[in-house]
């Protein structure tokens, strides 16, 4: 036998979907008490691998070993019984139940007819304080908690099932800066308590801060496993995509011209207070700040999807107030929503339908009749220009990987020929390779003279892409930076009000 004993070993896992190979000979070895990062572009097979582990998918070949023993996982319950817990991006919580009920949801009254509420709350409290969260009341409704706290509840829930291996899929995508720090503390604590953690994330900084080993996947294949200390960021990126980090933010040659949009003293609800800014044609204006700083709300109000209580919006020299998104788009003002699943895409509909939604009336139809041939050609050209990978234009949008989904969501805004466009978190949940391609698309727009506003919570992206940056905090503008003043330090200070 081997010298090092692994608490979880996945050996040569292969999985096909129809004729498509999703995983080929992928192996992951997780040591006891380690945080093992799993990284790869979207579509590299991370999620498929974890679904095989959780019993949601059946593997075609390969074996899974737990503590050196071969196990056969055929459904999620068996995985759970073996101590494998997976925390997905979407939490499996009941928002209307209390924290205690959620933590013990599957063991509320085992063997007894009645629930011992006092004991339940007591036990939940112990679990929470074990993670250092005495401030979450077991009686609070989960739906009332912040996303970060909901995540803590989700982790607690899985721990009560004696999880030996905890898998976290992009856990920080929805968290703010300080919440991430706290999550890391929890994970380190769990690791020291003997839980092995598989950590999936696109954020390289996090992997370096947290993990002991990194396993890289690419196109459903195994690239390699490295000790975190033995590699640096650019080498890791090279492993992932086969190209250098410096090319991540493509260069741009845009001429900054006339003012496109000026907003003066805008107020819209409690989230937008006295916001003023302007953007010029060919310029990329970044909006930085913590989640919930009011950036999205500001743009939504201008876009006609929120009520403006006071203030002026001057668009191409004229004062405007868009009543609804239709009017905004008709005037060449577009907005890519932040959450593609909830607001950006029709996941269950065809790629082509998603691509042409904004231009259905202007480019694709005549007297309300769709020209299918023209639509296909149009969508094909548009998507090819964005190097989107898809099988068939009539495939459903949710058959694509996250990066390609995001490109479809973007495509309909490119189609709309906007003169000013807001990108709200354009690269959230998107892998490194697709990110670069999306940056290129945004750059192209700027070069064509479009005024671009980019809301992003990722500092490197703001720094790498923007000509100018506005920082918001609690509904107010707290800073504006240009050129060499754009750096992480100053922006974080403005964002946190230091």
């Amino acid at each position: 036998m081997q010298e090092i004993k692994y608490c979880l070993e996945m050996r040569n896992i292969t999985k096909h979907f129809g004729g498509v190979k999703a995983l080929t000979d992928v192996s992951v070895k997780v040591e006891p008490q380690e945080i093992h990062a799993l990284i790869g572009e979207n579509g590299a097979g991370k999620s498929t691998l974890m679904k095989v582990l959780s019993g949601a998918y059946k593997k075609d070949s390969g074996e899974i070993l737990i503590d050196g023993k071969v196990v056969n996982i055929t459904n999620p319950k068996e995985a759970k019984d073996l101590g494998i817990a997976i925390i997905y991006q979407e939490f499996m919580l009941a928002p209307d139940l209390t924290v205690a009920e959620n933590i013990y949801i599957d063991q509320l009254a085992v063997g007894k007819g009645l629930i011992n509420w006092k004991e339940l709350r007591q036990k939940a409290k112990e679990q929470l304080s074990r993670l250092g969260f005495d401030d979450i009341a077991p009686t609070a409704k989960v739906g009332d908690l912040s996303v970060a706290y909901q995540q803590v509840v989700e982790i607690c829930k899985n721990l009560t099932r004696n999880a030996k291996v905890l898998v976290l899929d992009e856990p920080t995508a929805v968290l703010t800066f300080s919440e991430i720090k706290k999550l890391f503390e929890i994970l380190r604590k769990l690791r020291d308590d003997g839980v092995s953690i598989i950590y999936i994330s696109h954020r390289l900084e996090e992997l370096f801060e947290l993990s002991n080993h990194i396993t890289v996947l690419k196109d459903g294949g195994y690239v390699g496993t490295v000790e975190t200390g033995s590699i640096d960021k650019s080498k890791l990126v090279t492993m992932m995509v086969g190209r250098e980090m410096s090319q991540m933010f493509p260069s741009r040659n845009a001429k900054i011209g006339e003012e496109v949009l000026r907003v003066e003293h805008l107020n819209a609800g409690s989230m937008v207070q006295d916001v003023s800014f302007s953007v010029r044609s060919g310029e990329i204006l970044g909006f930085s700040g913590l989640v919930g700083a009011g950036r999205t709300e500001t743009m939504r109000a201008i876009f006609g999807d929120g009520k403006i209580t006071s203030g002026k919006v001057i668009y191409f020299g004229k004062e405007v107030c868009f009543k609804n998104p239709k009017e905004a788009i008709a005037n060449g003002f577009g907005m890519l929503p932040e959450n593609r699943k909830e607001q950006g895409l029709l996941l269950r509909q065809s790629i082509r339908m998603n691509t042409t939604l904004t231009v259905l009336f202007s480019k694709i139809t005549r007297f309300d009749v769709i020209n299918h041939g023209k639509e296909k050609e149009y969508a094909r050209d548009l998507l090819a220009g964005m190097s989107t990978k898809y099988g068939n234009l009539d495939d459903k949008a949710d058959s694509l990987s996250g990066g390609n989904q995001q490109k479809i969501a973007l495509a309909k805004w490119i189609a709309a020929d906007c003169k000013c466009i807001v990108f709200d978190e354009p690269t959230r949940g998107v892998d490194v390779g697709a990110k670069t391609e999306i940056y290129k698309i945004i750059n192209d727009l700027a070069e064509q003279g479009v005024g671009v506003i980019m809301i992003s919570s990722e500092m490197p992206e703001i720094i790498g892409m923007c000509d100018r940056v506005i920082v918001m905090r609690q509904g107010r503008v707290t800073g504006e930076f240009q050129n060499e003043d754009i750096n992480e330090n100053s922006m974080i200070k403005s964002a946190m009000g230091v």
């Binding site: 609804n324 998104p325 929503p337 909830e342 895409l345 299918h372 309909k412």
Partner: protein, 316 residues
Amino acid sequence: MKNKVNIKNQLIQNNTYIIFLGLFLMCSLLSGNFLTAMNIRNIALQQAGPICVVLGMLFVILTGGIDLSVGSVMALGSATASYLIVSKDMHFTSAILITLVIGLCAGVITGTLVAYANFQGFVASLAMMTVARGAALMITKGSPIKMDTNTLATLVKKDFGYPILLIVAGLIIAFCLIQKFTAYGRIVIALGSNIKAVELAGIRVKIYLVSVYAISGMLAALGGVFIAARASTGSGTIGTGQELDAIAACVIGGASLAGGKGEVFKGVIGALVLALISNIMNLMAVPAYPQDIIKGIIIVIAVLLQIVTDKAEMTV
């Protein structure tokens, strides 16, 4: 290899047709009276009204809504048309037009509650269901209104080529084309997938929402007129439970009550599946109450098949 997968996919996706054909074959074998011109014609005439209702219902379901008022609006249509013909001495064509407008108004009210007052479709149409039923019974004063056979019944006469069959066939074709070839059909199905995304793409979603309920109301009233034409009698009590049959037809046709999925022609076939079931049982003299039980079981089987389909689609 690829061809094989495609054929399998085709079979799975078109299981509504397979169910229908299987059932049709079974009926032909079970009763010698089934495959006769008279019986087929009867089924067609009988289903003209319900199919109109299914067309409207399908569009509502595509948006993720539901219209429970259709059965009552059918009764309202039947009552209004016969009342106008008998008591107001109106020509049946103008009576039908007025009836259609009334059905349209009922739908607009339901749709406005859904789109602008944020009612759930279930609740808004439930209210309309009660109101329309009450109105229908008030118009007929609770008893059937008998019409002359040379008025509304013209619609079902052989001499004129069974006009209602032509109308229904025209409507089915029109709706198939609307769904496949118009921006309207496209947006209806998009609404049921993700209404927020559609709104943010610059489409006035509320108007579309109102319109599907309006169409559903109008077609339900037309369905009521057809039923009155067949019996040459207007009644405020017809159409009870018709909303559920229409929903069942859509579901058998593969529509998802969550919205965003469903096809016009398959919905029509779904209605015919239900029609065949009652027809064959009538021919075989199965009593009414057991009929309902068998019908329920068949709906379950059909929907189970659909669920299997969905799963197959997901893992293929």
